[in-house]
Each structure stands twice: as C-alpha cells, then as structure tokens.
C-alpha cells in the first residue's frame, strides 16, 4: 500500500503523440527521495537518456510534487520543475508555488513528466480523464501571465497553468516557467518546454489522497501556523527579501558592476526600507502559506511586480543601475519575457564590462545605463541584436567573445551568480562552487553560517565546510518534502521536526538520522547525474576574478579568496561527502542511490557513471 500523501505513480506524457504512460513509484523510491527536487533527480536518472540534448525531444522535463502538497501545513503548496538545463548541461531543479502544485498532484500523480515535442505550439492538459494536447498557436508570443489568463478563461474553473513567455518560445537558455506570477526561474526550464513547443501545461484536480494520520497533521499544521508568525519570519512578512540589499551593502557583500566591487553607492535608493514606503502597493502569498512574503511594488507608470532581493540586485547594482524605477521596469520586463532575472542581469553585466574593455562592439551598453539595460533585455527576449550573443548566457557568450572575458563571466557551471559576494562569504563561496545546479543561493544556504557570527566569514576553513554541508543537506530535505525555506528559522531541531511531519503525513516511522541519509542521497544523486552528463572536477570552481581580485573593506581587513583556500575547502567537502579527490563517489555511495539497472522505466537504458577505483 502506498504511503500516505502519495499516489505512488508518475505520469510520463509524450508531447509528440499526446499519449502517456504510468511510471510506478515504489515506496522504497518515495522514501529514499521524498518528492520535489529529490524525486526529480531520481526521475531524471530514470527517464533521461545519457548525454541527451536538453532541448531535444528525448529530454524529459518533470513537474514533481510532494507528500505535503494538499495538507494544511503552511508553505506546502510547492512543486519542483526538474530537467537537464540547457544553460549548464547539468541537472537543474527550480521550485515554484501555489495552486498548480495542488491541482497537479490531485490530477492523480506524484509527478508529471513530459518528453517528445509537439508539431505545433500546444498546451498539455492533464486531468482525471488523462492527457491530451491542445494546439494553441494563438498563444504564441504572449507573456506567461496573459497565457495563464486566456487558458483559464478558455478551459474553465479549476484549471491551473504553468506557462512560458516569448523567451521560452525562442529558446533563451535562461527562460523561465511561471505559474500565477511565480517562477521556476533558474536553469532555462522555459527553454526546455519551448523546445517541445509546449506553451503551457494545464492541470486540473480529479482526486485526492489522504495523509496517514490526519489528526496529527492537523495538529502539526496549527502549531506550524502559529510559529510562522514569529520573529524568524518577520523579515519576509514585513519587508521581504529586498531587506537584504542595504544589509549586504553595509557588510560589503553586494556584488556590484559584475563583481568589481561589493558595495554600491546608490544602494540606499534601492533599499526596501525606503522603497517600500514609496512603491509598495500590496502584499500577498501563495496558496497554503501564512507568511505572505510577496511584496508587490508599482513602477512609475503603474506596472506592478513582485520584488525580491535577487531581481533588484541583478538588475540594479550588478549592472550599476541605481534608479529604482528602471530596476522595477527591468524586473517587470523579465517577467513579461519569461527570463531569469539573475542570469539576465549577470549576463548583461558581463556584456557591459566587455563593452567597457572593447571586447564587444556595443558602445551603448554601459554600466549604470538603465536604458541600455532595458534594450539589452528586449534584444535577449527577441534573440536579436546583442541578444543573439547574450541569450545563451555568459559562459557561452564568453567562449564566443574570448579576449579573457571568461575570467569575469559571473557563473558557476554556466549558471549566473546570485547576489552573494563569495570573497566576503567564504562558506557561501564553497556552497556556490560545489552545488550541482551551479551558482545557487537556494540549494546552498551556506550564507547563513557566514552571517551567523559563529565563524569568520573571511577565513574559510573546516568550520565553513561543515556549515556548507549542513545547509546543503537541510536545503535538500526542504526542497524535497517540500516546505518553503522562508520557514526554516522556526525549527529548533529541523531534521527531527521534519521527520515528525513526514511521519504524520506518510505513516512512515521517520527519524532525523534517516532524513540525514536522505539528504546526502539527494545531494549525491544530483552529482552522479552531472557526472554522467559530463561534469568535470574543474566545474566545481569559481570565476577567476573572485580568486584573484581581493576587496578591501572599510574595517581595514581584506576580503580575499585564494585558489589555495578554495581548493582546501572543496577537498574538505569531498572528503566529508565520501567522495574521492576528483569529487566522485565510491561503490557504496552509488549503491545507496537506488539507481538499479533494469529499473521499471519506459524503455530507458542508463549508463553507469565512472566510479573511482
């Protein structure tokens, strides 16, 4: 009997034919990987042919739910979108929220995967009657938000939509998938759907699944709800993540002008403390969430958008732009086009520096020029002009431009860097370098340790390694069970408390020790997938600029990260993770992944990654 909270099956749809298969999900797999990002990694191992083109028809993309979806636990209405990234060539998983998670799961599946490619722009519909494709050429070029509105008008009540914008249709390698204004943002998942000529996936609930112990879940939900209003979530409720901007500027952690500096003179103009008074018009939240972290701002002219630290950092200080209206307008434009603000801002910032150095012929593209930034965004979305170069991300663009521009291309594994300066956050530096998705502030939360006061953020060593591992493990569990990370501060003993929640939902007798093993398994499964797809040890590293250009601090100290220090931390990470010096697992670690040959998967043969000797 399938555990509570699960259906025990995934739907694997074929966009070429409109047909679908059912992939049974044994309890052993569900218990080993939980759901969300974890189960998504297992599904990619199972469904993705080795070394497939991520934009090719054989490449799968999966919407993955979790046992907590549909329960009254706050922040549980989340889903992961998982695929091989066209930006990095490695596994990417992005989380988004709200009703799509509930409707998608209650269509009757723990995951909905899609392979193949439609012959024309279409929408994939999944409900209680099964799967069908609906041609939708009239949706071409529309924003994800407009697509959502039109489809819900057309399909009727209860349908929930995950859609791509025009950038996804044009294969911008950092295009997003969006649901109700929330984005599965990183890694170019929108381009994967676009390559399948799927404008959207629409889901409709058809059934339900109960938790194993409903009363216990209800009691836990009440408790968690109360805690969600406490001081641990105050920042998210009152100002949102934009509160980070002035703080990071004050402690020399705000990447500025393509990581040439870590403080931005115009940061006060973009600070949440000031901007909220002037521009915030509303606050909202996802379904099943009591925190309400979404702060809606209005730009001059009336356009409204959700504002987060990352989009303001990437389209503000990273590009040298300090005009709040320009930054808000750029953020709205990214939403309209359906592109990842972090990758867009990082790639444009790199291009601005190239233009400064005369490496590209774009004299109009200068740091601090908001109009130039907006023009670059439009050209990226259209794949025209400078967009032809930039739509594929900073790594590919640097390979094309040469001239030493790779040294300051702000990416790890091809994924542009979030707003955390590694030279002044050494635990985070390690987390960014080793993470499977690339430079990622969600799969690694190591900045928590750097900002805790428990260690010296400028003196990376063993304590930073331990902290990076601990936060990576906690993220792996939260992203798989799924609970929003904004809730993380309410837990005194996270693994123990999460084990209790899972036990109540599933009926398993989970423990903290088991979840610790689960975390390690999920992190390793992602690494093993990447190894299979061509990861090399040199991919666990940071851009040369960050290892060769120290930053003086006002205190008199210097924020510097040397190659030797990074190497030592990475070696320590590998050792602690049971990997060899090349970052590869041994037989015992591989065996625990439950990636057995001959596993029930529709017609897929898998190649075992090379093992250390």
């Amino acid at each position: 009997m399938t555990a509570g909270g699960y259906f025990g099956q995934a739907l694997v749809a074929d966009a070429s034919t409109g047909s679908a298969d059912i992939l049974p999900l044994p309890d052993s797999v569900l218990r080993a990987y939980l759901g969300g990002a974890g189960l998504g990694a297992w599904l990619m191992h199972t469904l993705a042919p080795p070394r497939a083109d991520p934009l090719g028809p054989e490449a799968p993309l999966a919407f993955v739910f979790s046992p907590l979806v549909g329960t009254p636990l706050t922040t549980s209405a989340k889903f992961a979108v998982v695929a091989k990234s066209p930006l990095t060539g490695m596994l990417t998983d992005a989380l988004a929220s709200s009703q799509f998670a509930i409707a998608g799961k209650y269509a009757g599946y723990d995951a909905i995967a899609v392979r193949g490619a439609c012959s024309e722009l279409s929408v994939l519909l999944v409900d209680g009657t099964g799967v069908r494709l609906m041609p939708a050429p009239e949706l071409a070029g529309l924003t994800a938000a407009e697509t959502d509105r039109r489809l819900r008008d057309r399909l009727g009540r209860g349908w929930r939509i995950a859609a791509i914008g025009p950038a996804g249709e044009r294969g911008v390698r950092y295009a997003t998938i969006s649901h109700d204004g929330r984005h599965a943002g990183r890694g170019g998942l929108g381009a994967v759907l676009g390559a399948k000529r799927l404008k959207a996936v629409a889901v409709h609930a058809a059934t339900r699944v109960a938790p194993a112990h409903p009363d216990a879940v209800l009691a836990a939900a009440r408790d968690l709800r109360a805690r969600s209003f406490g001081p641990a979530t105050a920042k998210y409720r009152e100002l949102g993540t934009l509160a980070n901007l002035l703080t990071f500027n004050a402690i020399a952690t705000l990447p500025t002008r393509n990581f040439q500096a870590a403080t931005f003179d115009e940061a006060p103009q973009l600070a949440a403390e000031e901007l909220a008074d002037m521009r915030r018009v509303a606050r909202s939240g996802c379904a099943s969430c009591t925190i309400g972290c979404e702060h809606i701002y209005a730009a001059r002219g009336g356009k409204k958008m959700r504002v987060e630290y990352e989009n303001v950092f990437a389209l503000g200080p990273m590009c040298g732009v300090g005009d709040p209206d320009a930054v808000l307008a750029a953020s709205a434009r990214c939403d309209e086009l359906g592109i990842d603000t972090i990758s867009a801002g990082g790639t444009i910032a790199w291009a601005m520096e190239c233009a400064d150095r005369g490496l590209i012929d774009a004299p109009w593209l200068r740091f601090g020029d908001a109009d130039a930034m907006l023009r670059a965004l439009d050209e990226i979305g259209a794949r025209e002009g400078i967009g032809k170069l930039l739509a594929d991300g900073s790594r590919r663009a640097a390979e094309q431009v040469g001239g030493g521009s790779a040294a300051f291309a702000p990416h790890v594994k091809g994924l542009e860097m979030p707003g955390y300066e590694p030279r002044s956050l050494h635990a985070m530096a390690l987390g960014l370098a080793v993470n499977a998705r690339g430079a990622d502030h969600n799969r690694s939360g190591a900045y928590e340790a750097d900002l805790s006061g428990d260690l010296d953020r400028l003196d990376g060593g063993a304590a930073h390694v331990a902290a990076a591992i601990e936060t990576e493990d906690r993220a792996a569990v939260m992203d798989s069970m799924i609970l929003c990370k904004f809730l993380r501060g309410v837990f005194d003993d996270p693994l123990t408390e999460w084990a209790g929640l899972l036990s109540a939902v599933t009926g398993w007798d989970c423990s903290a020790a088991e979840l610790q093993r689960t975390a390690r398994r999920i992190v390793l499964a992602k690494r093993v997938f990447n190894i299979r797809e061509g990861w090399q040890p040199a991919d666990d590293w940071l851009p040369e600029r960050l290892l060769s250009e120290p930053l003086p601090l006002a205190s008199g100290r210097v924020a510097a990260l040397t190659p030797e220090r990074l190497r030592a931390m990475i070696d320590g990470y590998y050792a602690a993770r049971g990997l060899d010096l090349q970052g590869r697992p041994g037989e015992a670690e591989y065996a625990d992944l439950q990636l057995a040959d001959g596993q029930a998967a529709p017609g897929q043969a898998r190649e075992r990654p090379p093992l250390c000797s």
Partner: protein, 281 residues
C-alpha cells in the same frame, strides 16, 4: 600564514593595584578580555595570553591560546619571548601588549604593526606620552630566540633586545601621521595604563566611547539611519539601539565582523550595524 597576531602579558604581579589587573571588571567582562578582543580584531590573527605558571585567569574569548611564562619574575622580556615563540609558526609579526591598557584602540595596533610589516623594522616601538612603550609595541616573532638568550643571560630589560635589532621609533607625530589613528585616538590614550586602584577607578568612570549604531532591514522600523551613542561593548550598543542580540539579531562591527557576542569591546569611531540574522534567502 596570517601576517599578524597578538600577545597579551597577563603574568605581572599587579602589586600596586592590589588585585590581578587581568581580572579587573570592564563593562561586563574584564580588562584581559577586552585586550585580547581588541588585538584579535586589530590583527585578524591568533592571540596568545602569557601568564605566570599556575596563574588563574578570568574567562577568555573562545580560541585564545594560553602559554605559561616558564620562569617567574623575569620581567616582560621573558613574557615577550614566550609569547613570540608560541606564535612563531603562526604569524610573522605580533603586537605585544600588557593587560592594563583599557583604551587600547585597534587603529593604534594597526599603525604600530605597519612599521614592522611594511617598513621592514624588527620592532615598532611607540614613544608616546613621554615614554617608550615596549608593552604596546610590534615585534617580529623571529625575535623570540634573541629574547630568550637575553633572559638566560639575566639581561631582562627590553632595551637590551632593542640593541640587537632594527627598531622603528614611532614618536607622537609618526603615530598621528596615520589619519585614522589621528581621528580616532588623537590623544594616544591607547597607551594609558592603570597601575593603582585610583587609576582604574578613574578609567572605569570615564564615558564610554562614541560609536555609531544603525538598525537595518526589519529592525530599522522607525529607526532609520545611523546615530551616535556611547557604548563600550556591543551589548551596550544594542541597548542604546533598543535591540536584543540573539538568535534572530546579530551585529556587524565596522561592516566586517558579524557577532552575537555582547562582550565584544568597542572603540571610538566604531560602527555597529544590527541585522536580522535571517539575512539572505
């Protein structure tokens, strides 16, 4: 290895004070705690406390090393030798301080060390307030063998060590040529020491240094922008800023060191930012 470190000589008899100077209360901790913390902050490297064998010390900041002065009553050169020897594998230079300098400023430490680190001298020796200050001076850790030889020979004055090496004499003009030190410690009170009870009580009664505090993020609610307060420790600054350090609130000292340690000492000109510990995300 890190360029600089700190040595605090805590083994003196404190005969005129009447009680161990190291343990004298200072704004919620002790003079020893303050001196160790200031050196840690100023040098960015390890700090070693040299005590008399068997001497009981008050609590120390985590990570502080303690070495015993192997021979009692051999004066400061023995303590300097022991401290420099303990750091020989860990740093090139060290600031050596007595434990009784309640106004020692990080800017003073950095100015003195620069004479050794950058200017090539073996010793950076301040001459301030009418006296040479060998127990508020910078030394190359490689001098420890020379210092030990002097002790073995019974030549116990620091002047004997200075005869054997290159000494950069830093008079008051030289010290104040550093604009940061000139601004933050214009009267060179860093070298004011307390020998008798009245000295200590007078020092203790002085107003706390003026620092700037600012609340950021959600903590800024109704309290935007920096403001000046008087605070000798991070805890006093928190109180003045009306915040409580703890699980969800940390302090950033001078935009650099993040801490929840309320006992962390402050010096004139410091800025203390109070942040939500949930920064990030």
């Amino acid at each position: 290895m890190p360029k600089s470190a700190g040595v605090v000589l805590a083994g003196g008899r404190s005969s005129r004070m009447g009680s161990p100077k190291a343990a004298l209360e200072w704004h919620g901790s002790t003079l020893l705690w303050r001196t160790v913390s200031i050196l840690s902050r100023a040098t960015g490297g390890p700090v070693v406390v040299v005590r008399a064998a068997g001497q009981e010390l008050p609590p120390l900041p985590p990570g502080t090393a303690v070495v015993d002065d192997p021979r009692e009553a051999r004066g400061p050169v023995q303590g300097i030798a022991a401290g420099l020897a303990a750091l020989a594998d860990q740093a090139d230079v060290a600031f050596v301080s007595s434990t009784d300098l309640p106004f020692l400023h990080p800017a003073f430490v950095r100015r003195v060390l620069r004479a050794v680190e950058s200017d090539g001298a073996d010793v950076g020796l301040p001459v301030a307030r009418g006296f040479r200050q060998p127990l508020a001076a910078g030394y190359r850790t490689a001098l420890s063998p020379a210092a030990e030889r002097l002790v073995a020979e019974g030549r116990l004055k620091p002047a004997f060590l200075f005869e054997q090496c290159e000494v950069a004499m830093l008079d008051e003009d030289a010290l104040r040529s550093d604009p940061v030190l000139a601004a933050l410690d214009p009267d060179l009170e860093s070298v004011v020491n307390v020998n008798e009870r009245a000295d200590y009580e007078s020092a203790r009664a002085r107003p706390s240094p003026e620092v700037m505090v600012q609340r950021l993020g959600v903590l800024a609610d109704g309290h935007r922008g920096p403001r000046a307060v008087r605070a000798a420790t991070v805890a006093e600054a928190a109180q003045a800023a009306e915040v409580t350090l703890g699980r969800h609130v940390v302090a950033a000292l001078n935009g650099d060191q993040i801490t929840r340690d309320g006992q962390a000492p402050l010096a004139a000109g410091d800025t203390v930012l109070f942040l939500s510990a949930d920064a990030g995300g």
